[in-house]
Symmetry: C2
Subunit: 528 residues, 2 copies
């Protein structure tokens, strides 16, 4: 296949919105050592390891670990000098291994048995050689994501050890340097314990940091691994940013990048696009992400009031369904064509990384959810709503009629009246995804039925849960939509709180509290 | 101990003479692979591995080896692009191991069991990560010495392999970019076979390249390892340069660096000095090297005619003997105080890396050789020759008297009349070093006795030979001094020729044809 022809006007608009990054300078709060700890969720506890000034000389095999107190994405700089054994100056280069840790595991464990299917090149270890000492303001040239930095001396010489000073982190982000006021739970009442309120504050802090550290010249998927713009992540990040940093231009830039770099010449959207070295088509298209572009645009227009952008990009948002309508059977059951790849290419259906998840019902619901957003956008922008041809029909029907038909078909195919839940696939699998998306799409006939579907699913032991915070978000959004705010908050405390308990300073791509070392990529060390 | 106070005037003169480096651009002559070969002296043969254009895609574990045809010291630059598996762009950084090989062994063998006592940081391997592809004109920031460059792909991703293009070497040297005309052996007559003449031409070529690749902002000890200025190496390099590249300023700069950075406040010279990041005292002093400073200065003044420099530095050269006169016994036998270190600090006696070599007799002869140079310098510069106090005497004697006394004592202590050779130490060890230096110092009573001493030593099976080209040079110089030019040339063909046969593109710090993998540092891979 051939990439879609780039739209230079859209790319130029995107480039004109490229933000300047703000730099925040910070210093380690101390040195730590990693101690194996069975009680720690991820197996390690940090113990104080004294002060840098007291580390006299490091030689082959010695190491120190800086703790910068919390997580950032940015650059690392340090001074290094020789500590001489005798009178002779440092007579050789010094070779160092430097490892950047988002969590203790990164600096405590070897990467030798790394077994993820995503590239080993994402691992946060580097080997550097410094030829002449002292080397002042030695700056590591690549951006890293870290709370901890381990420096291990691979080799000095018989003549000298080394000593470090002025370790400095330069965090970069396009978010404003000041955080918004933290959430207050003073009015939350006594259905939340003080402990829970404290945990929620901490979750809010980590969530905000996650957002900040993913905000660069695009909304990045993760600050260490991937560092790339995906529609699904963009939608949630932009929503958070409207509520916190009040940044609208970054979301606008990101949408224009997608618009400017279509997957094909018909205008199907890529699931991700590349920014560097130059903006580039992303090579894969995710059905649910392409559909969610309309929702992302709607969110943006409502938050920013920027109707002009809405009008400019509406045709792209509005046409996405036309690429997927053919996936419905004539009786309007959404089918997912078989593919050989885990990801990549066209026709990827994501929803969540949970490998056993049946996705038909969720995708069907997402179609409805996103068509509704398209309809709302058309009204808001005073533009003509699109119409589509469904399988088994000869003529195009207006979007409102399509939405009605799809809702009706979804109820028919996927609602299990006996249990009051939505199911998916030939085995009538019950999952959080299927029920959350059905509820968000407004499929249930009443709010009570919607609430019941979520409640039953949530309490069902063998329901397929979510592996990503991404899906957990949609579960919570659905709970809030049916008035189950308190359950949503409790779930946030349980799920995101368990990441905090495990040492997260930013929330991860994937997280299963029951299998804390699991990762959608097959190795904890890639689970940024 | 405390370093000597730097002499700012001398350092300023040295810095004013810092040369600009010339850059020469070159490209690989092809790709090779290393094939184990029992017949090859160092164990490997290069086989043609095709053209770079035919290497379609390199993935995890794959490697290529560029052959640049010969050795250079400089920088490496290349273009790298992704070769996509499907339609998706390169979705991860690429991690590469890059190894610079002076000889095939460097790129054919693992460094994992490196066992030299000099730092592992000298090893010519680097690991780099490139975040965004294509990366055009990726330049490795550190200088390396290489004929071969191995690039091994540590990791790409499922989505892509990599392809290299435009591999480019930028050799740097302060030598002129044009080589002088190669030596001609057309008039040498038939005592040399055509094969020997061809070998001599090749030796001349490799010698010239060694010199060029050691000429930077100082005469460096070696282009890979050490990269530092030592008096002993400087003397021979400068001599070669006067005869070839006609460079005088670099030697002058080097001498002023030594003069500006004394070992102690009495003016003892360092054996080596450091240039980067700023000129710095070298922390050790070698007796024979300090003495040879006078010879180096004499050579320079004679070659350049620069009497002003000679006068400026003469007092420093002339005083070196005063530090070592105390090492003579009252009956004028040179003694070497015991030391615990292999190198470094004060009072190191070098001569050669041969560990079993007894050095007393050689050092004694070097004193004479260098005092004679001091005397000659004084005459040339029309300055007063120094006088010294020897142990057992109360008053200082003029240098001419000192030279006579030391010659007489040397004959008395070290000449074994029965065998006609010079010996050293309590076991009356016969060595090339002792006899070469005795001859160069003019100790033998006649040219015939000198020639006989060398002849007998050279043919004696258990005589201690030399481990370094440095000592082999002085053997040849002594042979020439006694009219044994032909034997000197034959020795050059045998010794330096055997390095050429082993694959040397530059001559090495140490070389024993009978133990080709031996190294003064304990590992072939440090034997630059």
């Amino acid at each position: 296949m051939i990439p879609g022809t780039p739209n230079d006007r859209f790319i130029a608009i995107a480039e004109s919105l490229k933000p300047t990054l703000n730099t925040t300078t910070s210093f380690p709060i101390g040195l730590v050592k990693c101690v194996a700890d069975e009680k720690a969720i991820l197996g390690w506890t940090a113990e104080d390891a004294g002060k840098l000034e007291d580390v006299k000389s490091l030689r082959d095999g010695d190491q120190i670990i800086f703790d910068f107190g919390t997580h950032r994405a940015g650059f690392f700089e340090f001074d290094i000098d020789a500590v001489l054994t005798g009178v002779e100056p440092a007579d050789a280069p010094v070779r160092l291994e430097i490892v950047f840790g988002e969590v203790l595991n990164d600096v405590a464990e070897s990467f030798d048995d790394y077994k993820a299917w995503i590239s080993k090149s994402w691992l946060p270890d580097e080997v550097i050689n410094i030829d002449y000492l002292p080397a002042l303001k030695y700056r590591m040239p690549r951006r890293h994501a870290f709370r901890y930095i381990k420096i291990k001396v691979i080799s000095t010489s018989l003549r000298f050890g080394v000593k470090f000073s002025n370790p400095t982190a330069y965090a970069v982000s396009s978010a404003p340097t000041e955080d918004p006021a933290p959430l207050s739970f003073s009015k939350a009442g006594d259905w939340l314990s003080d402990e829970e309120k404290t945990k929620l504050k901490r979750i809010d802090e980590v969530a905000l940091r996650t957002l900040r550290n993913c905000m660069h010249t695009v909304y990045e998927d993760g600050p260490r691994r991937d560092m790339r713009l995906w529609i699904g992540d963009l939608r949630l990040q932009a929503l958070c940013s409207y509520a916190t940093f009040k940044d609208y231009n970054l979301a606008k830039r990101c949408m224009y990048l997608f618009a400017g770099l279509p997957f094909n010449d018909e205008g199907l959207l890529c699931a991700c696009v590349y920014e560097k070295p130059v903006p580039k088509f992303g090579g894969n298209s995710i059905v649910d992400y392409a559909m969610l572009f309309a929702v992302t645009l709607l969110d943006y227009v409502k938050a920013s009031g920027d109707l002009q952008c809405g009008k400019d990009l509406f045709p792209i948002a509005a046409k996405q369904f036309s690429f997927f309508a053919k996936n419905f059977t004539e009786d309007l059951r959404y089918t997912i064509p078989e593919r050989n790849m885990t990801d990549g290419g066209e026709g990827w259906h994501f929803i969540d990384w949970q490998p056993t998840l049946d996705k038909e019902s969720s995708e069907h619901a997402i179609m409805i959810y996103c068509l509704k957003a398209t309809q709302e956008l058309a009204e808001l922008l005073k533009l003509d709503a699109p119409s589509f041809v469904l399988p088994g029909t000869e003529f195009s029907a207006p979007i409102t009629a399509i939405i009605e038909k799809l809702i009706s078909a979804h109820r028919q195919h996927y609602f299990d009246a006996s249990r009051g839940v939505f199911v998916s696939g030939p085995d009538r699998q019950v999952s959080w995804a299927a029920n959350a998306w059905a509820v968000l799409a407004g499929v249930p006939e009443s709010k009570e039925m919607a609430a019941r579907a979520l409640q039953v699913t949530y309490e069902m032991e063998d329901a397929i849960t979510g592996m990503t915070p991404y899906l957990h978000h949609y579960l919570c959004e659905a709970l809030v939509a049916v008035g189950q705010d308190r359950l949503a908050v409790k779930h946030i405390i349980d799920y995101w709180g368990s990441m905090v308990d495990a040492g997260a300073e930013t929330f991860w791509e994937g997280w299963d509290p029951k299998q804390p070392r699991s990762s959608p990529y097959g190795d904890l060390h890639s689970n940024s």
